[in-house]
């Protein structure tokens, strides 16, 4: 089971703060989120994913493997400060 935390536009669009999912890769997280919220997978590609605080672009992108207890952060791009 992995914990998926939603921030930014992901929180705005899908309302949940976090969800628990069975997933073995980040790609599977996207697919399960898409199924859960009834949105196409491509809608979830507008976000940036971090696994245990590491950007997946430093790992294996959407193929990044996940283990029990991993935390996936879903973050949207933004600015203003």
């Amino acid at each position: 089971m992995v914990t998926v935390k939603l921030f930014g536009a992901a929180r705005i669009n899908f309302k949940d703060k976090q969800v628990e999912l069975e997933a073995s890769t980040v790609k599977e997280v996207l697919e399960k989120l898409a199924a859960k919220y009834g949105a196409p997978v491509k809608d979830f590609k507008q976000f940036v994913y971090f696994v245990n605080d590491v950007n997946i672009d430093k790992l294996k992108m959407y193929k990044t493997p996940l283990s029990d207890g991993d935390v996936v952060m879903v973050i949207s791009l933004g600015s203003g400060g």
Binding site: G8, I12, K45, V48, D53, D57, I75, L77, S79, G80
Partner: protein
């Protein structure tokens, strides 16, 4: 009859001499309007022409220049911003501080493009500025009042702009407040206090006409649609405010934590924009003319008040290890009421905490201990006890107690809440910024180095040129009278649609070269003589339609370049040396992440490249050839 042939300007600038109680017109030609346009650049021109050597910022010699921008009152979105410039009591150099609300538009409707204040009033004074002229009014009854109380007590109709007790007591980072908005940075409020001026009230009834009313209306309509549609300005900022960035900053090691010893805060969720919205937000609101509406309305002591920005949340949250959001809302309100910059105040307090932790100054302040912060904020505003020393800012504290390597300031002004070891180009910006440790005047490269794009945050390649490009771009936007949030649409939606997709990944890789390419094109006068698409940079077309000034992308960047160099020249005249373009040792010498050898700011290398790319000499002064090209007379 208007004294200008340009649209959108009143054609009149006044100089108010507090010492002699006189008001004179200040000459400013249309040629100068075309070169310096308005806002902070117009103000820089006026200060550059009048202050040629080091002065005491609290002396009557200092001047305050309040400027409007050509787009104020022109119906453009997010265009109610006005500017206040002076010599900063925090840095001793030029500072400009920008404010939303209606005051700037009232100044313009009263018939003035800018108001210059010089000298020192003999008695406590406020100034009333209307279409009929200027009145010097007694402020004895207003002295000592908070910013809300003072605005309520001023009997005159109109929009107000006042200092609180912090400005009266010359706290070096006191701000000026209009409605609930603040001209926050650089201590402009203390300069008002030093001149015995509690504030101004402005009322006017006639805005100038635009050059091409119908053309401007079309540009404005399209511009508003773009902002409403853009994912940042249309969704994220209205929904979550600037605090939307907290989670992203944490994830990318950018969230100032524990006095910048880390870029991550374990309790970041408690102080995130999402938590602010879900648990504390009453509603969002915004400045006049703003379709973004990023301002938070929250409750403090049962009252609905303005909520904090991400900077305040970072500096009074993660940076002092405080995850109690309500306390941040409370302190933010108190600081607004007392009239103090939340960035410098928070940063100075965290520095004092580390001094205490290291046994260098026994002051009772500790990381994670929040029960004495409210009292400390009040003590600073009234200069009581340790507050009297904290009111001097972190650099002066470091000179007294030591610890300069962890006093998080540049040129004497405290850094914003972005930890720059996770974005080295942003660190360069802090160091070079004309007004000291400012993220905006620094170029705000963190937007490219993580928040919106994913340009390699550790590379030095191309960062100097990018920094320059964004500094110039924001300088020009600000001078027009716009909120800088309008520049986020500069990065079009399609780039943000798939941030980890192939197209954006390629753009991230080549983006480091964009600044260099632009710099090359800049040498060919006609190469940039076009308008970028309206969804990216509508400012150029709006200024053209509003004023009749022949504006395009190249001229817009050149305008920003002119402004930035003019500010630099003022600083050079005030004694700026290359060693002032610096960062605290912690950020240059200590790795943020022990396993990441690049996680520190390689400042020396970046500065050398920056000087060269800016056409500055080794002493950091603009070269004569550059000044000639920019039409700046020495």
């Amino acid at each position: 009859m208007s004294k200008t042939k340009l649209g959108a300007y009143t054609g009149k600038i006044i100089k108010i001499d507090l010492t002699n109680k006189t008001v004179d017109e200040y000459p400013f030609s249309d040629e100068e309007r075309e070169l310096y346009i308005g806002g902070k650049i117009m103000a820089a021109k006026i200060i550059y022409d009048n202050i040629k050597s080091k002065i005491d910022p609290f002396s009557p010699e200092n001047m305050i220049v309040i400027t409007t921008g050509p787009l104020n009152t022109m119906g453009s979105p997010c265009s109610s911003r006005f500017n206040v410039s002076t010599i900063s009591p925090l840095t001793g150099f030029y500072t400009s501080s920008n404010c939303g609300g209606n005051f700037g538009m009232a100044i313009k409707r009263a018939g003035y493009d800018a108001v210059i204040i010089v000298g020192k009033a003999e008695q406590k004074t406020y100034l009333k500025i209307t279409d009929d002229g200027v009145e010097f009014k007694d402020a004895t009854e207003l002295w000592g009042l908070t910013t809300t109380e003072a605005q309520q007590k001023i009997p005159d109709k109109g929009d107000k702009f006042v200092i609180g007790p912090a400005g009266e007591n010359l706290v070096r980072y006191a701000c000026v407040v209009s409605g609930e908005r603040a001209a926050g940075r650089g201590g402009v409020g203390a300069v008002f206090g030093s001149k015995n001026v509690k504030g101004l009230v402005a009322e006017g009834h006639k805005a100038p006409e635009p050059y091409d009313k119908e053309g401007l209306r079309k540009v404005n309509e399209k511009w508003t649609r773009v902002l409403k549609k853009h994912p940042t300005t249309g969704v994220q900022l209205p929904e979550l405010g600037t605090a939307a960035l907290v989670a992203s900053m944490h994830a990318r090691n950018l969230l100032a934590t524990n006095n910048y010893r880390s870029g991550k805060y374990e309790h970041f969720e408690d102080i995130s924009g999402e938590t602010l919205r879900d648990d504390y937000l009453v509603r969002n609101t915004g400045c006049t003319t703003c379709p973004i509406r990023c301002q938070r309305v929250v409750k403090v002591e049962g009252k609905e008040v303005k909520g904090p920005e991400v900077e305040t949340i970072g500096l009074f949250g993660s940076n002092i290890l405080n995850n109690d959001m309500q306390s941040i809302l409370d302190w933010n309100y108190y600081m607004d009421e007392l009239g103090m910059d939340t960035i410098s105040c928070g940063n100075t307090i965290s520095f004092a905490m580390e001094l205490n932790e290291k046994g260098m100054w026994d002051n009772g302040l500790s990381f994670g201990k929040i029960d004495n912060i409210k009292e400390t904020i009040e003590d600073i505003a009234y200069r009581r006890g340790i507050g009297d020393e904290l009111a001097e800012g972190s650099k002066r504290l470091a000179l007294k107690y030591g610890g300069m390597e962890f006093a998080m300031q540049a040129k004497g002004m405290e850094l914003a809440a972005y930890e720059p070891r996770g974005a080295v180009g942003h660190g360069l910006g802090y160091a070079i910024s004309n007004r000291g440790g400012c993220h905006l005047n620094g170029g705000y490269l963190v937007v490219l180095e993580g928040l919106m794009m994913s340009v390699d945050p550790y590379t030095t390649f191309g960062k100097a040129a990018l920094c320059i490009m964004f500094q110039d771009l924001m300088e020009a936007c600000s001078a027009g009278g716009n909120c800088l949030f309008t520049t986020y649409a500069f990065l079009p939606s399609f780039l943000l649609a798939k941030p980890q997709g192939a197209v954006t990944t390629v753009v991230n890789k080549v983006f480091t070269k964009v600044g260099l390419v632009l710099k090359f094109l800049f040498r060919i006068p006609t190469a940039l003589a076009f308008h970028l698409p309206g969804y990216m940079l509508p400012h150029t077309m709006a200024i053209r339609k509003a004023t009749g000034i022949h504006m395009n992308f190249g001229r817009f960047l050149r305008l920003g370049e002119r402004g930035y160099n003019l500010e630099r020249l003022i600083d050079v005249n005030l004694g700026l040396k290359p060693e002032d373009d610096d960062l605290p040792g912690r950020l240059k010498d200590e790795l943020q992440i022990p396993t990441e050898p690049k996680s520190k700011v390689p400042l020396e290398k970046l500065i050398k490249k920056y000087y060269r790319t800016r056409f500055w000499d080794k002493e950091g002064r603009p070269t004569k050839a550059l000044l000639k090209r920019l039409k700046i007379k020495e």
